[in-house]
Structure formats: structure tokens, C-alpha cells
């Protein structure tokens, strides 16, 4: 797994550029190109009731986006990162997904809300649609976050996001793919953490010996991951957790002081997702850290 080409869709929010800056370290790896992408929502310029299309408005939005992107491009060039500007009119989510496939990018980076009140998710509906539908890894980046912890509003800046990643593994093949991604980031990682959570549902329906077997298998798999990371020159540490998966991953990420979470998506169908939810999506909604979701 590699990260040669990144798609960076943006709505030019306050901290979009800061978010982009956090990716520049990837140029130390083999990042070749960043595609700066702006979608002019069709509904903003088209279908004026009984009026048609706001061509002038489209041109204005296009020009504004181009000027902003060109400003960003100058900074990217100073860091030795190639970039390309793409501006299109359309429905944002399908456009982002289709451009990602068309351009064969390795990672889509979406920028997320900076603030979240208690129990309100960090994810907007657009990001949620992207992470649930993308067949390409998605980094949900959050440069600055304000969130409630123990009754207080805490502000956190996620600057060096690749420094201390936590790989939340479910010991599946997809987790192996997520591990490959970490291995690719070897020069950027100070220390990696790998963890597995024994779901509280399993604890309820298995006896002690069965649980011991599951726990030992998980530990063995995590040890394998750590060995692979260490042999690639990355310091690694393994952790086990138990309970509700998403909450436990978030707890572990805070315990080890992780800078980002990397996990695979489960690929549940829409119906299962509706009733059960998916741990990866729940973590994306609730965690204050950037998250890479590997489908």
C-alpha cells in the first residue's frame, strides 16, 4: 500500500489549509501529487426556479477557487509537492468519489468540523457519506478540535498527525491492509500502537475458556503486527481492550496519547449498518483525532 497521490477536496473552511499542511510531511515518503479539488454544488448555480443556470455565479466561484488554490500551490511547491487544481460543478459526494476513482488516488482527505458539543458527532453528513461509500482509504482530518471532556471544553490541535498512530485492529485481512499503510509511513512515525478490543457482545455469549482462546489469538496477531513494524524500523507497542468497541478504541487512543487512529472499515451492508452501526464510523464520529479508514 502506498500514498503517491492524494485527493484533497475542500470547501475552503477556516482551517482547510492548515489541514493540508499536516500532509506535507508525506513528501518525505513518496507522495507525488496532491489534487486540490473544489466542487461547486450544482444546486448553488443550477435550477434557478424558472430561470435556468447562474453562469456568472459559476464563473465567479470557479475564479475564487482557482485564486485560492494557486495561493496554496505556491506553498506546496516550496515544500517540493506537486499539485493540480480540479474545479467541477456537481453533487459533491458522488463527484469526490468519481474523481478519486478516475484519478486513481491512494487517499482521500476530508476535513472535518472543528467543534462538537457534547454527544454531537464530529462528522458532517457529507463526510459520513464519503467514508461509508469510498473504496479508497479516507483520512478524516481535523486540524483543530474543541470538544467536551469531563465537563470542560478542551481545544486540541492535531498537527503532527503521523507521529503516533494507533492501529485499531479487528485481526482481519483488512487490518493487514491498514498495517501496510502504517509500514509505508515508516519515516514519519515516532511510535506506533496496535490494539484489539474484545467486544462486550463476545464476553456475554462465550464462556471463560473460549474468551481466553480469543484473547490469546488476538494477542498473537498483535504481536505479529508489532514484529512487522519493528522489523521496518518502527517502534511499536500492543494493547488489548474490552467493552464497546468504538468507546474502547477512543479510550485507548487517549491512554497512549495517539496522534491518529488507523482502522479498517467493516464493509457492512446498508441495512446492517443502519441497525448495528459500524465501529469505524462510530470512532470517526466520536474521536477528536484524525482517522484513516481503510476499506
Amino acid at each position: 500500500m502506498k500514498i503517491d497521490k492524494i485527493l484533497f477536496p475542500t470547501k475552503f473552511d477556516e482551517f482547510s489549509y492548515r489541514s493540508l499542511e499536516t500532509l506535507l510531511v508525506l513528501s518525505k515518503a513518496v507522495l507525488k501529487e496532491i489534487l486540490l479539488f473544489y466542487v461547486i454544488p450544482r444546486d448553488d448555480v443550477g435550477f434557478v426556479p424558472y430561470g435556468g443556470y447562474l453562469k456568472g455565479e459559476e464563473e465567479r466561484l470557479r475564479e475564487e477557487a482557482r485564486i485560492r488554490f494557486e495561493d496554496w500551490q505556491r506553498s506546496l511547491a516550496e515544500h517540493g509537492v506537486n499539485s493540480r487544481i480540479i474545479i467541477e460543478v456537481g453533487d459533491p459526494v458522488p463527484k469526490i468519489l468519481s474523481i478519486a476513482e478516475q484519478e486513481a488516488v491512494d487517499l482521500i482527505v476530508v476535513n472535518k468540523k472543528t467543534r462538537a458539543a457534547f454527544d454531537i458527532p464530529f462528522l458532517g453528513s457529507r463526510t459520513f457519506k464519503i467514508i461509508t461509500r469510498s473504496k479508497i482509504p479516507v483520512l478524516v482530518n481535523r486540524y483543530i478540535v474543541e470538544f467536551e471532556r469531563e465537563g470542560k471544553i478542551v481545544t486540541r490541535i492535531n498537527g503532527e498527525i503521523f507521529k503516533k498512530p494507533l492501529l485499531a485492529s479487528d485481526c482481519s485481512e483488512l487490518s493487514d491492509k491498514a498495517l501496510d499503510l502504517l509500514l509505508f509511513l515508516d519515516g514519519l512515525i515516532e511510535k506506533a500502537y496496535v490494539c484489539n478490543v474484545i467486544n462486550s457482545k463476545l464476553s456475554k455469549c462465550h464462556d471463560r475458556s473460549a474468551l481466553d482462546t480469543i484473547e490469546n489469538d488476538s494477542k498473537r496477531k498483535l504481536a505479529e503486527y508489532c514484529d512487522r513494524l519493528k522489523s521496518a524500523g518502527i517502534d511499536a507497542e500492543q494493547h488489548m481492550g474490552a467493552g464497546e468497541i468504538a468507546a474502547e478504541i477512543i479510550r485507548l487512543s487517549r491512554q497512549v496519547g495517539a496522534s491518529m487512529i488507523v482502522m479498517s472499515t467493516t464493509g457492512k451492508n446498508r441495512l446492517t449498518e443502519l441497525f448495528e452501526g459500524s465501529p469505524s464510523h462510530k470512532v470517526s464520529e466520536k474521536s477528536e483525532l484524525p482517522i484513516i479508514l481503510v476499506p
Binding site: 450544482r42 443550477g46 435550477f47 424558472y50 456537481g90 453533487d91 458522488p94
Partner: protein
């Protein structure tokens, strides 16, 4: 800030309501609202229609973002005086138009829009004059069965894709608007909104088939004119000599299940017009059970289409809810602000618009007056207005469905003139019919330069359509 805005809106409303309420106050309550409603009560309807006609031209950006508020304004200055001065009778009129007209109307448009948005025509199409003429013919035929909006949305993108290499595409889109987005919708109540409103008021489903002659005259003139024009430009552009681009994707239709849902919609509308399963009262409004079943079935067809059609098909169709949301909001305003106008016209010679009834007497008058107004205002309310003018003139005091039945039996040419005028003249301007602006919007988005509002009229519609309308007048309405 919000309080200040609310204050400004209230003051503005007050300024409009004071003269209106005093006008209403001068009227005595009578057995029929239409006999006592003042002339001023037509102001909100005129305002609503003029807003639709003028805002997109003068302040398109403001209109795009605030048309909902403008609509609400006209609704409030219609509804508040009605409720204050006519109390339960006013409320009854409001509930009736909402439950018996607006709701079924929006359900039909919504279901047709949803279902047709699930059908996708893929593949490499070649924009030759023969192919384009065929697409226009197919679209014209489909329009009566899947609605002008449905047919236009289904075909406009493939049509433009097929002609991507052509330099002169504007005239093609204009003919597309003429035929697929308007004229083709004449044959069934599913075709064009005014005809469905007529159906809801009692015009039989198959009666509109009697308008085939008018449709054929228009098509027989328009298609050859298009073919000649297209052939001229095709040769001038030298397209046939250009090398093949090498991408040849076979032509195919995706989302077949939606044809079943489309058949379901046609069947449900047809059934509701042929059976009588009794009546039930909803908030005091009597509605046929068969109509309620139809509406439920149409919603079901839409839901099934949404659930069973692959998301990719809708996305590749660039399907969005925005246009139908706009139509729902605008027609909410049109229907409510139309109440005084319809009531006055229904009162016939006893209403404030008796002069209209006196002035508009002959079929030729109905064809042209309905037509001209349909071109600049929306054709659905215009159709209803003149349907009421005709029934009010011939059968004053006779309840709606009975009056329409009598009109069809004794004076069908009047209904033919109103229907043909409302449907055909919708093509005369961009604002004559809702699909016109959708087609224009899609064409411009995909890089086809479209003529301005007046350019469309003076370069195309007046020159091409007017002679056809004159011909139709001589053949059918004189």
C-alpha cells in the same frame, strides 16, 4: 439581526395587509365566496405569478436563494384576510385546494420525477440529424406518458452528449424544449401539469386523446423544420468528415424496473379516473377513496423506485431533489394565492371578473388568451383559471365536476382550446413551463450556450411556433 429581519418582514406584510383587509371588509359574506371577494383579492395571485416571471430575469441570484420567502409572503397575504373575513368558509377553501388539488398534483409530479430519474440511457450516441430528429420524436411520444419533466430529464443529457462535437447546439435544445418539454405532453393528464389539474377536476383520462389532431399538426410541422435546420448545420460544420473519437460504448438503458413503476403510475391515475369507491371526509374536504388510493400508490411507486434503483444510476443521471423541491414550494404559493381568482371566476357574471367572462367568449379567444398567459405565467394555474372562466360563463353556479361534464358534452371545443393553449404556449418562453428552465439549466451546465429570455423568444419561439399556433387556430378553433 434575526429579530430586525422579522420586524421588517412583519412591517412589510402589514403595509400590504391594511389595504387588502379594508377591501375585504367592504364585502359582505354571501353563500359563495366568489360573489363577494373584491377585485383586490387577485393581487397576491398576480404578485405570485409576476414574481415567477420577473425575479428570474431581474434578480436571479436573490430569487434562487429567497424564492421560498417570496412565496410565503404571497401566501400569507392571501390566506390571512381569507381566514379573518370568511372564517370557516375561507378555511374550507384553503383545505380544499390543498388536499384535493395541491397534494395530488405534487405527489404525481414527485413520483414521475423520481421514477424517470432512475432511468439512464448510456452509450455512445451519434448526433446526426436523423438521430436527433428521432430523439425528439421519441421524447414527444414519451412526454404524454412520463410527463414532460420526466421525458425531458431522461433524454436531455444523452441528447447533449450525442451532440457534444456539434458547434451549433442551441437550436437543438430549443426544439427539445418545444417538443419534449411542452407540446408532447398534450395527450394524457400525465403529460403536463395543467391537464392533470383538469383530470382532478373531472376531465376524463382519455378525453385528452381527442387532442391528437392538434398534436399531429404541431409535430408534422416542427419535425421537418428541425431536420432541415439540423442537416444544414451538420453539413456546414463538416461533422461527417471528422475522425471517429474511437470510444464506442454500446447504447443501453439502465434502471429497467422504473418502467414498471411508470406503468404503475399510469395505471393508478387511469384507475382513479374510471372507478368510484365512495367518498371520505378529510378535515371536511370530501375526497374519493379511489383518489386517496391513487396518491398512496404513486408514493409507493416513488419509494420503490428510490429503494430498488442503483444509486449509481441516479448519480450518473445527476439526479437531485432541488428542482422538484422548488416546484413544490412555488406551487404551494400558486395554489393558495389562486383561491380568490378561482372563486371569483366560478361566480361567473356575479363575480368581479364578469368582464373576463364577457370578453373571452369564443374558442379562439380561449386558445389565445389561455396560451399567451400560459407563456408568461405558469400554464397550470392559467389552465384552471380559464377552465373556471368557461364553466362559470356557461354554467354559473353549477358545481365543478358537473359543469366540466356539461362543458365536455355540449362545448368540448372550449376545453380543447384551453388545453391546447395551456400546453403549447408553455413553449413560447422559458417561464411557460417548469421543465423549460430545467432543460436550459442542464444545457448551460454542460456547455451549450442558450439564448437569453428575449433571445429565445425573438430568435426562435415567435418565429417558429407562432405560425404553427395560427395554423392550429384556423384548423380547429375558428
Amino acid at each position: 439581526m434575526k429579530q430586525a429581519t422579522a420586524g421588517r418582514i412583519l412591517s412589510f406584510l402589514f403595509l400590504f395587509l391594511v389595504p387588502l383587509t379594508s377591501a375585504y371588509a367592504g364585502a359582505e359574506k354571501g353563500p359563495a365566496i366568489g360573489e363577494t371577494l373584491p377585485f383586490y383579492s387577485l393581487l397576491p395571485f398576480a404578485g405570485m405569478l409576476l414574481s415567477i416571471a420577473l425575479f428570474p430575469l431581474v434578480l436571479p441570484k436573490l430569487w434562487h436563494h429567497h424564492f421560498g420567502k417570496v412565496t410565503l409572503f404571497w401566501v400569507l397575504i392571501t390566506v390571512i384576510p381569507l381566514l379573518i373575513f370568511y372564517k370557516m368558509a375561507g378555511l374550507s377553501e384553503i383545505l380544499h385546494i390543498m388536499l384535493a388539488d395541491y397534494l395530488p398534483f405534487i405527489i404525481l409530479l414527485g413520483s414521475l420525477y423520481t421514477v424517470s430519474g432512475g432511468i439512464l440511457l448510456r452509450g455512445t450516441l451519434s448526433g446526426t440529424p436523423a438521430f436527433n430528429t428521432m430523439i425528439l420524436l421519441v421524447g414527444t411520444i414519451l412526454a404524454s406518458w412520463m410527463g414532460t419533466t420526466g421525458a425531458a430529464m431522461l433524454l436531455i443529457r444523452p441528447f447533449l452528449r450525442a451532440n457534444a462535437r456539434r458547434k451549433n447546439r442551441s437550436f437543438m435544445v430549443v426544439f427539445f424544449i418545444f417538443m419534449v418539454a411542452n407540446i408532447g405532453g398534450l395527450l394524457t393528464p400525465l403529460g403536463d401539469p395543467p391537464l392533470f389539474l383538469g383530470f382532478l377536476r373531472g376531465v376524463p383520462f382519455f378525453w385528452t386523446f381527442s387532442l391528437l389532431k392538434q398534436l399531429l399538426v404541431a409535430v408534422v410541422v416542427l419535425l421537418p423544420v428541425y431536420y432541415v435546420l439540423d442537416t444544414y448545420f451538420y453539413k456546414k460544420e463538416g461533422i461527417a468528415d471528422l475522425p471517429d473519437e474511437g470510444i464506442n460504448e454500446p447504447v443501453r438503458i439502465e434502471g429497467y424496473s422504473n418502467f414498471i413503476f411508470l406503468a404503475g403510475i399510469v395505471g393508478a391515475v387511469l384507475l382513479s379516473g374510471t372507478v368510484k369507491w365512495g367518498e371520505i371526509s378529510m378535515l371536511g374536504v370530501h375526497r374519493g377513496v379511489q383518489d386517496i388510493v391513487r396518491d398512496g400508490f404513486l408514493i409507493l411507486m416513488g419509494v420503490l423506485s428510490l429503494t430498488l434503483t442503483k444509486r449509481k444510476i441516479r448519480e450518473d443521471n445527476a439526479f437531485t431533489w432541488f428542482p422538484i423541491k422548488e416546484v413544490a414550494i412555488l406551487f404551494f404559493g400558486i395554489f393558495l394565492s389562486m383561491i380568490p381568482c378561482l372563486a371569483i371566476l366560478q361566480a361567473g357574471a356575479r363575480g368581479e371578473l364578469s368582464w373576463v367572462i364577457t370578453a373571452v367568449r369564443e374558442p379562439v379567444h380561449y386558445f389565445w388568451v389561455t396560451g399567451i398567459l400560459s407563456a408568461f405565467l405558469d400554464n397550470a394555474p392559467t389552465y384552471l383559471t380559464f377552465l373556471n372562466t368557461a364553466t362559470g360563463g356557461f354554467y354559473t353556479g353549477v358545481p365543478g365536476p358537473e359543469a366540466i361534464a356539461l362543458l365536455i358534452k355540449e362545448n368540448p371545443v372550449y376545453l380543447a382550446a384551453i388545453s391546447t393553449g395551456a400546453v403549447f404556449f408553455g413553449a413560447l418562453t422559458y417561464i411557460g413551463n417548469a421543465p423549460n428552465f430545467m432543460v436550459r439549466s442542464i444545457a448551460e451546465e454542460l456547455g451549450t450556450p442558450m439564448p437569453s429570455f428575449f433571445g429565445y423568444m425573438f430568435k426562435y419561439s415567435l418565429i417558429i411556433l407562432m405560425p404553427i399556433f395560427v395554423l392550429i387556430t384556423f384548423i380547429f378553433f375558428l
